[in-house]
Amino acid sequence: MKKIYTLIGSIVCFFALIFISVKFLIKEVKSTKPNNNLEIVNSINRLNDSQQRIQYSLLNKDNLYENYSYNYAIKIPEGYKTNKGIGKYSTIQFYNEELGCIVAINVGESNLEGITLVENNSIIREFAEEYETDLSLNQTIENAIIDRGYNSPKFLKSNIVNYNNRLFLNLTHEAFRRKNKNNNPVVMSSFITYYKGYIYFIQFVSYKFISQKKWENEIEKSMSNLFINKFISKKD
């Protein structure tokens, strides 16, 4: 019986020690790394508050959308309607009425002014690592998703992707979208990158019942034709 008590006591002490040491272990790692988390949290939070400038843009007949105000160009899937919005907080949205798929491009302000491509790539790498470890970052993104009208977002995976030498933090979430009385499951793939003093948050949303392979193919087509560069500016 004495042995059993010793065993139980040891187990309790061991787990207590583990949970006490966790705080110090986290603190030690955080103190050796530069804290850029705050920047991504602030810039994502600001996405909703950023007043959009009057934007000069063009959607040509090849479905290539060019935005000269924020210096980017992206290929939009065939048969999608454009909604530029009229409010000061409106963002660009492309949607397919039949399938219910959406491509939304949000550009917000960040504190990383004058950021170069190399700096962006190193920050995105850092965020990807932080995103895996710091679960409070996930909460920020989930709040941004809820703000955009979706319910119960659930994080699925994160990875770094490279399109045209620019790194993007790619986050995949599952959420629900209320349509009349039904709560329909959707899958959203978000891409985050930085350029100049802006954060680019590009979101691809599709209903779960749609062929995901086909949809991923569409995302690939759009993203491989995404360019963010000062050369994408309007003619004089």
């Binding site: 061991f14 787990f15 583990i18 949970f19 966790v22 272990l25 986290i26 895996e132 470890t133 679960l135």
Partner: protein
């Protein structure tokens, strides 16, 4: 003279293995081929010390007491059972930590380093209190000491001391070398030799 030469080779080999494991676990190096090469070279250098004709204390004890060693597959199964139990408790703890602290500790640190305290605690507490583990129970195996301890008035073949068990558990952490020993010194591993203990049928 031959013994010294072998010892020198052994120490050099151990150094190779330690440096390789350090670069893998602590420096998080991704030069896997170089690390594997270094570990294998280290094992090659260490091999002469542990050749079968060089009897260890454990083997001498087995011979003198006429003990039938535990067959290797039984020890493999016990290891696997224990490993899955440790993995289960480790996973549960990591899930609880991520819930309470909103941090993935297993992503911040190398999981091999994080699982080590669980393994050491699991083996130490059970083998010290009960001379067995949950994995050893189905085969009715137990750990005994092969050396006598006049201070504690313990004879060879009695329960191991806490220090012996702790050494046994810590040596298990160098699992790459431990597995190597099982291949050449069946059915005893490095943790048996160093801690001067042996696993026998009850």
């Amino acid at each position: 003279m031959k013994g010294y030469k072998n010892l020198l080779f052994g120490i050099t080999g151990l150094l190779f293995i330690t440096v390789s494991l350090k670069s893998l676990l602590i420096d998080k190096s991704d030069e896997y081929m170089k690390i594997i090469g270094c570990v294998l070279f280290g094992l090659f250098l260490m091999y002469p010390i542990f050749k079968k004709n060089d009897q260890t204390g454990v083997e001498k004890f087995i011979e003198s007491k006429n003990i039938i060693g535990v067959i290797w597959w039984k020890r493999l199964i016990t290891f696997l059972i224990d490993f899955f139990i440790i993995l289960f408790f480790y996973s549960i703890t990591m899930i609880l930590i991520s819930k309470f602290f909103e941090t993935r500790l297993d992503k911040l640190y190398n999981p091999l380093i994080l699982i080590s305290p669980f393994a050491v605690f699991y083996y130490t507490i059970q083998e010290y209190l009960f001379q067995t583990t949950l994995g050893k129970l189905p085969f009715k195996l137990k750990v005994i000491s092969i050396k006598s301890n006049p201070l504690l008035k313990k004879e060879a073949g009695s329960n191991p001391t806490f220090f012996q068990i702790l050494i046994r558990s810590l040596t298990r952490l160098v699992f790459v070398v431990d597995i190597f020993f099982f291949l050449f010194k069946r059915p005893i591993g490095l943790h048996d030799i160093i801690s001067k203990t042996i696993v026998i049928h009850k």
